[in-house]
Symmetry: C2
Subunit: 481 residues, 2 copies
């Protein structure tokens, strides 16, 4: 009977091999991660989805603080004239900002836009606050909502409103700004790989994919199960562009007035979509243990039998000391139904405790990643579980990295690339001359975009496969979310 129910359950989620897009929609809705909001392109992040965001925030914010950054909060609304100060930036964001025109029934004297990102307002404040080299570096971050009024949206991956953090720093020298830019990228890599078990490629963005107003944009790119790329976090060296536009000047040690060097960097609720699409399978989600809202679920078996509920509560209390744990003591649901639900929700470890387990002083454990079932002695349980969760993390990372490597190809033959691009080719490593023309041509010919110029270079050939001229870089190209 258990098996039948399991099948019934699994059936409710479309197979990811059959229709990945529908699989994604099924999973996020059925696991109560998110719901569509009655506002175009907006989502409601339900508690289980928001719990993932809280996990990501915790592990990220800790690293920000350890590296000397402090959180602040800047206004949501920005006067129209601010956007016009930085021409490139304006061009990048103006088409997708939302405009506020009235307060109550009165027309505002100047239109305000809702922040799509906060460089303009933050730089305005920085120009007021920064006077001397003693005020530098300024290392601030904010966790907030932003809005980009895009046409095509998908929960977590691309939504009109999303939650993110945006760091904004100012430094005395170019070198310091560059060091900061790369430091934050490395923090993002740690978050992705060491916390979310999501392997990433680090590199620099091509000009066409660069942040509006930046000198350099660095990115981490992850491969989703379907072979598409997800830009999972970016870090920008803004040079003196914003400092000059917003007049951020400081009196340097040599008594001269100089423009500051600034950076900005961000990750968003998009990462939640990444977690789902990297790790999930046809039973549902697989939560990376270090940020899982529920790391361990305790299920009493034959809970009406004497001693079972008491033991389950005891276990729950003991585990709560070290883990995010839930006791499923709901009545009116079969054990099989509960197994399926917690598997679908991707809880890394399920512990069952029934009369036989109690007799033997053990629990029965099931790992979500491998579905392995085994018993664990109650003695030393918390230590053992900590080890298992680490192992689940490592296993999930390895599976994802293997999948990515298997779906990463090398080609410097443009015809071959075009042929591969008829499907979803995964990542293709190829050579590039560095011109925007070839970048554009690649995109219009194939739908593939240059994901990054990876730090880890390999010489695949001398020429750009698109124009035939001398190649400057090896790049990753892929279809992307």
């Amino acid at each position: 009977m258990e098996d039948k129910k399991q099948k019934k359950f699994v059936k409710e989620i479309t197979s990811k091999e059959e229709d990945f897009s529908q699989w994604y929609t099924d999973v996020i809705l059925k696991t109560d991660m998110v719901d569509y909001a009655p506002v175009r392109g907006c989502m409601v992040i339900k508690p289980y989805g928001y719990g993932v965001w809280e996990g990501i925030k915790d592990v990220t914010d800790r690293r920000f603080k350890e590296t000397g950054h402090k959180n602040a909060y800047f206004p949501l609304l920005i006067p129209e004239n601010f956007l016009q100060k930085e021409a490139d930036h304006f061009e990048g964001f103006a088409p997708e900002v939302l405009w506020v025109t009235h307060g109550g029934s009165e027309k505002l004297s100047e239109r305000l836009f809702i922040r799509p990102t906060s460089e303009t307002i933050i730089c305005t404040m920085y120009s007021k606050w920064i006077k001397s080299y003693r005020d530098l570096p300024v290392l601030m971050n904010q966790w907030c909502n932003v809005i980009r009024w895009e046409k095509t949206t998908r929960p977590f991956l691309r939504t009109a409103e999303f939650l993110w953090q945006e760091g904004h720093t100012v430094h005395e020298t170019y070198d310091e700004a560059q060091e900061e830019t790369l430091q934050m990228l490395e923090i993002y890599r740690e978050v992705a790989e060491d916390e979310l078990a999501m392997p990433v490629i680090l590199g620099e963005k091509s000009i066409g994919e660069r942040f509006a107003g930046a000198d350099k944009t660095y990115t981490m790119e992850a491969m989703m199960y379907d072979g598409k790329a997800l830009q999972a976090g970016t870090s920008h060296n803004l040079g003196q562009n914003f400092a000059k536009m917003f007049n951020i000047q400081f009196l340097d040690r040599d008594g001269k007035l100089k423009y500051g060097w600034s950076t900005s960097w961000g990750i968003s609720t998009r990462l939640i979509g990444g977690i789902i699409m990297v790790h999930g399978d046809n039973r549902g989600l697989k939560m990376p243990p270090r940020i899982a809202p529920i790391q361990v679920v305790v299920l009493p078996i034959a809970s009406h039998k004497e001693g079972v509920m008491d033991k389950a509560y005891e276990l729950f209390t003991q585990l709560k000391e070290d883990f995010r744990v839930e006791l499923d003591d709901r009545e009116g649901y079969s054990a099989g139904w509960k197994f399926n639900e917690w598997e679908m929700k991707g809880v890394p470890l399920r512990l069952e405790i029934g009369p036989r387990d109690i007799e033997k002083n053990q629990v029965t454990a099931v790992r979500r990643d491998t579905l392995e079932k085994f018993t664990l002695p109650l003695e030393g349980l918390n230590e053992k579980i900590a080890e298992i969760l680490d192992d689940i993390h490592d296993t999930m990372f390895k599976i994802a990295a293997n999948h990515r490597d298997e779906n990463t190809h090398e080609s410097i033959d443009y015809d071959e690339i075009k042929e591969m691009a008829k499907g979803i080719p995964g990542f293709i490593k190829t050579m590039w001359c560095g011109s925007e023309e070839c970048e554009e041509k690649l995109k219009s010919d194939t739908g593939l975009t240059i994901r990054c110029i990876p730090f880890e270079q390999k010489h695949l050939g001398d020429n750009c496969p698109i124009c035939g001229k001398e190649a400057k870089h090896m790049v990753y190209i892929a279809k992307a979310y």
Copy 2:
């Protein structure tokens, strides 16, 4: 020389006895809590101010989770037609909502407003999610920004945009909703009194001060140093009002379809203003130790002497295990200047370590609340500091409670009340017939408002001093922020 500098410093802050409003402005700006934003009525919360908010969030969120609430996130923008569903609610909020009319250069098909509070959007989602008694209670909360486009604003106390949390719950019965409403008020009391050292009066709001759409609004009211009241947190029993308007129905155990009973409750960045105005003195802020962004500051004295910096770092590292601590190793500032700065910022405990202290295996400590100076042996320092911080909390609470009690009066003579209202009378306990007419008259005659009908009642007389009719309640009246 130290004294002279101190005086110079203190002079920069207007005396609070002289001009409390200017004192407040001086303190919040000079301590880097906040700055005015270049958007009407909006503020920039600087890292030191935001650190206080993070402290408040931590101690509050923990309590929410312990009582079974989970965080979620609902959209910032709400379609116009939602506001019109609940007539009272519409009337309450329509005059101060901001309207979004355009996305990029295109006019939106329906205007959207920025949430002033989220009952309408959340109830819409709840009506979709809630089907059965098994789905209840729904216990959600969100930490977010809201906007109320008010004319007169002051940083923290009343700003167009502010940060808050809003809890929204649905229950099977009236009794459960009422229990929840009071439970959350009690959590707010704990936060205010046990974490912020801010004594509060608990009670019910009069009809005139009730939340738009609520059956009952409960409040905690704190007295600021100048004798004015601050509404520091509210909890609303919404009855079935929103459930009926938004069609939140569930199939009950008896097989009948019933409307749910809902509550909502919130505290905001306004509490930061409360902390400043309850505890601050003419040297600046006094941070309640349990939420202070910096609990202990370590100051090396004669830091050029051998061993001083090493010992200071050692101390810093040891304290970091248990406290939020900062080591002030800045060069080019005198010890006296630093003393003043940390006093102004209200850090609860300052530890000085110099050659003489090292010799004696001690630190010199100065409490911000009492300015007492004393030495502490290095052995067992962390335990001792924990005790001192608790004592600072208790002392701050007592000072605030005494100040409030000294400025709380009883009167049932309307002429006397009117006379007292020519200044700031503090809290006046009086009797009230319960009519909106008398509430309105009191306000227009005196500028005083009914802060609450406190849970702790006292029979001061038989009649309402305003109309002379039979009194129903004892109330607190005061001028309010």
